[in-house]
């Protein structure tokens, strides 16, 4: 499958701090790609390297067939960026900024602009200095999606939007995908990523820790099981793939690696199952698993 972005072994240092440490990411054409990681993991740095705003120290990058540093201007005609913290000129109106950004990017579709303004309920006559964070974000979103580009780089675009606007945003991204465009969505909002993304890359301390479709990631992780039995469940801890067992009388809850579920269920039936509840891991749990390790290691080193 053709790729819109492929990053291999990307390194970026800020002084003595290594922000990106052999980071890899592949974004296919016409997919919505979720980019997850906590603050400071390197999401914005990656996007800024892709935009040629930062110069990489090592690594290979192919962005829409070009080099993000060398071919910056030509590539920027084909993509649109919504920054994490949208900053605008306080004395210009929202409408003026949308037109300006569209023009500098290479052109704007007036009908699309009107439609987007209406969808996001944005008043284009107000000065940017008077906009709230959410409204500044809307200006950047409208400017981006009113442009006819192949790729959208969106850095936490929904962090200031209210729930109705988040729905409008999801609709917009879904449309863009249907029209054959590619979207990279860096986000903290698991619900957005679960609703929109085909594939996901999880970054931690500048390294890729997980990449794939949501199903693939789920398969690699654990399912939460809560069971009530007639007799106390014994020997559960001895089974492979079982974690975090907690008992409260005849109630037992534990996590199990997805490929060990069958064996565990066979074990459970010996004790007379009265009720059983199982939940596949949510994206949040997937994410917490990668970062939760860090927390528990720090808290109880003797159990690690």
């Amino acid at each position: 499958m053709p790729t819109a972005i492929s990053i291999f072994g990307l390194v970026k240092n800020f002084g003595s701090t290594r922000a990106l440490d052999a980071f890899d990411m592949t974004v296919w054409d016409n997919e919505v790609h979720g980019f997850l990681g906590p603050n400071g993991a390197g999401k914005s740095t990656t996007i800024r390297v892709l935009l040629g705003l930062l110069r990489r120290d090592a690594g290979e990058i192919d962005l829409l067939g070009g080099d993000p540093w060398r071919d910056a201007v030509a590539l920027h005609r084909r993509l649109a960026y919504v920054p994490d913290d949208v900053k605008l000129w306080p004395t210009l109106t929202g409408g003026e900024v949308i037109d300006l950004m569209g023009k500098l990017r290479g052109g704007l579709d007036p009908a699309r602009r009107a439609e987007m303004l209406d969808r996001f309920k944005l008043d284009p006559t107000k000065k940017c200095g008077t906009y709230s964070k959410g409204n500044r974000q809307k200006v950047a979103i409208v400017a981006a999606f009113a442009s006819d580009v192949e790729l959208f780089l969106l850095d936490e675009p929904t962090s200031g939007l209210d729930p109705l606007m988040v729905m409008a945003f999801r609709e917009t991204v879904t449309e863009a995908r249907r029209e054959g465009r590619t979207v990279v969505l860096s986000s903290h909002i698991f619900a957005d990523v679960e609703a929109l993304c085909d594939r996901i890359t999880i970054i931690r301390q500048g390294k890729t820790v997980q990449a794939g479709t949501l199903d693939e990631l789920r398969h690699l992780t654990r399912t939460l099981i809560e069971v009530e039995t007639e007799r106390t469940v014994d020997d559960l801890e001895k089974l492979p793939g079982v974690h975090a067992v907690e008992r409260e009388g005849l109630q037992t809850s534990f996590q199990v690696d997805s490929d060990e579920i069958d064996r565990v269920l066979r074990h459970l039936v010996q004790f007379g199952v009265k009720s059983l509840h199982s939940a596949p891991p949510s994206l949040e749990e997937l994410f917490m698993r990668h970062y939760g390790d860090e927390v528990s290691e720090q808290k109880k080193p003797e159990e690690a």
Binding site: R48, R55, H76, W89, T91, T93, G95, D99, P124, K126
Partner: protein
């Protein structure tokens, strides 16, 4: 009411620790400069020499702009000669500090974060005032000690320090007020600096219009001097009469300004100025839709107010030129003084050279401030969004450089025209005067561009230090320049550092190509190097 100041003490400590480098650097630099200056003007002057330098400041109306003659003593001589320079340094230190800790915090959103904690509405402003007053008092003591150690009378030395601190504190109060009025920190700084410029000019006019005593060593200033805090500092007459009571005037006016700032702060929202927000067009006009159009849109308000300001100043200078000629005609035997300062013995020409030189420094502030907008847009503005579009870095920077370079040139043209035409109307022969003075204005353009080029280089190489380096370059160029440098009697090799020293002294001298070509070459070199450095470096955004 007292609740509105809750947390002031805690924020005072925060302000001190945030400014633990910048403020001490300012204080020590001013103190070191004082040591240097006093050492150069050593105490070996004979009584006759002291009389003659006092007469230099007393008898020449144009020179009175820069210093007030207060008798033939070494201390009075130092005060006449150095007062304005130190007053401006102390005032600028105070203005930048107060704006940095009030309005700038709002621009960056830091104030919102602090404001949501349990601190009062005025705590931030109050803590900024506390620190800046403390800094000025410290500086006053340092100056007092330095002058005392140089063997000057103790009480008068501290009176001199107190006069500078009074001016610093006054402008801290004014900056606090400006921070409430303006919509941004740049606007607040500009407003307060404009106040300083006005205070300098008004005090100077008061001194020019004053009367000199029979010995020619003491000037009694006319009433305008009393309208200006710079004038009050001079009227303290350290080393002559030591009018300590004038400190009360400083204290009172500071309290009025501070109370005004507090009052205005209760009447506005965080992050907003007092001027009402208006709606604007829902779509951009075609003129805005390019990098050059954008910069012009952002800069045009600033440019137009500068154009009006320098134009008015030019008209005033041109209008008084006839009086100046009449006054100077009565004076004999001072030709050599003018020759030294203006490079010509034609008195009116020399006066114009002096005025043009001062205006050149003022207009260079426009260039420096305008170019610093690039850094503000980069660190805390939409520059990264612009450079994420099909605008190259070179295009982005050159649109600023072009705008500022042409704007600076236009200001010089305006000054030359306004001075020349009004002088021509007053003295006759408009065409000749206008032609002469337009040339006198335009010859300064390359020197201003050299300073601008240095700012671009600083921006390219050291993004996080751009503002500090830019103002350092400006202060060095100004202090070593033809007027201040000559007045401070700095060694020639130091004076040669300033690009302004190399400007032909038109209309006294004729224009020569070599210095102009040299300065232009230097400006192009610095700008080009800055552009290259910028194209190779990371875009540096303050937020992570």
């Amino acid at each position: 009411m007292s609740q509105a100041f809750t947390g002031t003490l805690a924020l005072t400590w925060v302000a001190i620790s945030r400014d633990r480098i910048q403020l001490p650097v300012w204080i020590l630099a001013v103190a070191a400069f004082m040591v240097a200056v006093v050492s150069i003007w050593n105490g070996d002057l004979s009584q006759e020499e002291l009389v003659s330098v006092a007469q230099f400041y007393g008898v020449q109306p144009a020179v009175r702009m820069f210093g007030l003659a207060s008798g033939a003593t070494l201390g009075a001589y130092i005060m006449s000669r150095g007062f304005v320079v130190f007053a401006v340094l102390v005032a600028v230190m105070s203005i930048l500090f107060v704006v940095r800790h009030t309005r700038q915090d709002e621009d960056t959103g830091r104030a919102e974060l602090i404001g949501s904690a349990s601190v009062g509405r005025h705590a931030n402003l109050a803590s900024a005032f506390i620190v800046v007053v403390g800094a000025n008092v410290l500086l006053a003591v340092l100056i007092g000690l330095i002058l005392t150690f140089k063997g000057l009378p103790v009480a008068s030395s501290f009176a001199a320090g107190a006069a500078f601190a009074g001016i610093g504190i006054f402008f801290a109060g004014l900056a606090g007020l400006a921070a409430q009025l303006a919509g941004t920190s740049r606007g607040a700084t500009g407003l307060a600096l404009a106040g300083l410029g006005l205070a300098f000019v008004v005090a100077g006019i008061g001194n020019i219009l004053g009367r000199v005593d029979e010995a020619g060593v003491r000037v009694v200033s006319a009433w305008p001097a009393w309208l200006s805090p710079v004038g009050w500092g001079q009227q303290m007459r350290a080393f002559e009469e030591d009018h300590w009571s004038l400190l009360g005037l400083f204290a009172f006016s500071f309290l009025v300004l501070a109370a005004g700032a507090v009052f205005l702060e209760t009447r506005r929202d965080t992050g907003k100025g007092l001027l009402p927000e208006r709606r604007g067009p829902s779509a951009a006009s075609p003129g805005l839709l390019s990098p050059v159009g954008l910069v012009w849109r952002l800069q045009r308000g600033v440019f137009l107010s500068w154009a009006v300001g320098v134009g008015l100043f030019g008209i005033v200078v041109g209008a008084v030129s006839a009086d100046l000629e009449a006054m100077l005609d009565e004076l004999e035997g001072f030709d050599e003084i003018f020759e030294r300062i203006g490079g010509t013995d034609v008195i009116v020409d020399a006066a114009f050279v002096t005025f043009m030189g001062i205006l050149a420094l003022v207009i260079t502030i426009y260039a420096v401030q305008g170019l610093l907008r690039m850094r503000a847009e980069e660190s805390d503005g939409p520059a990264e969004s612009v450079m994420a579009t099909a605008v190259s870095r070179r295009q982005w920077v050159t649109s600023y450089i072009l705008n500022i370079a042409l704007g600076t040139a236009a200001l010089f043209l305006i000054v030359g025209l306004t001075v020349g035409v009004t002088a021509g109307i007053v003295m006759g022969d408009v065409a000749a005067w206008a032609a002469d003075l337009v040339v006198a204005g335009l010859v300064h353009i390359p020197a201003a561009w050299v300073v601008a080029g240095a700012v671009v280089l600083a921006f390219g190489l050291f993004p996080r230090r751009t503002a500090l380096l830019a103002w350092m370059v400006f202060v060095i160029a100004a202090v070593t320049g033809p007027f201040i440098g000559a007045m401070l009697d700095l060694p020639e090799w130091i004076q040669n550092i300033s690009p302004f020293i190399h400007v032909p002294a038109v209309p006294g001298e004729s224009v020569t190509a070599a210095p102009i070509v040299g300065l232009l070459g230097m400006a192009v070199l610095l700008t080009g190097a800055g552009l290259l450095a910028f194209r190779r470096r990371d875009i540096d955004v303050t937020s992570v």
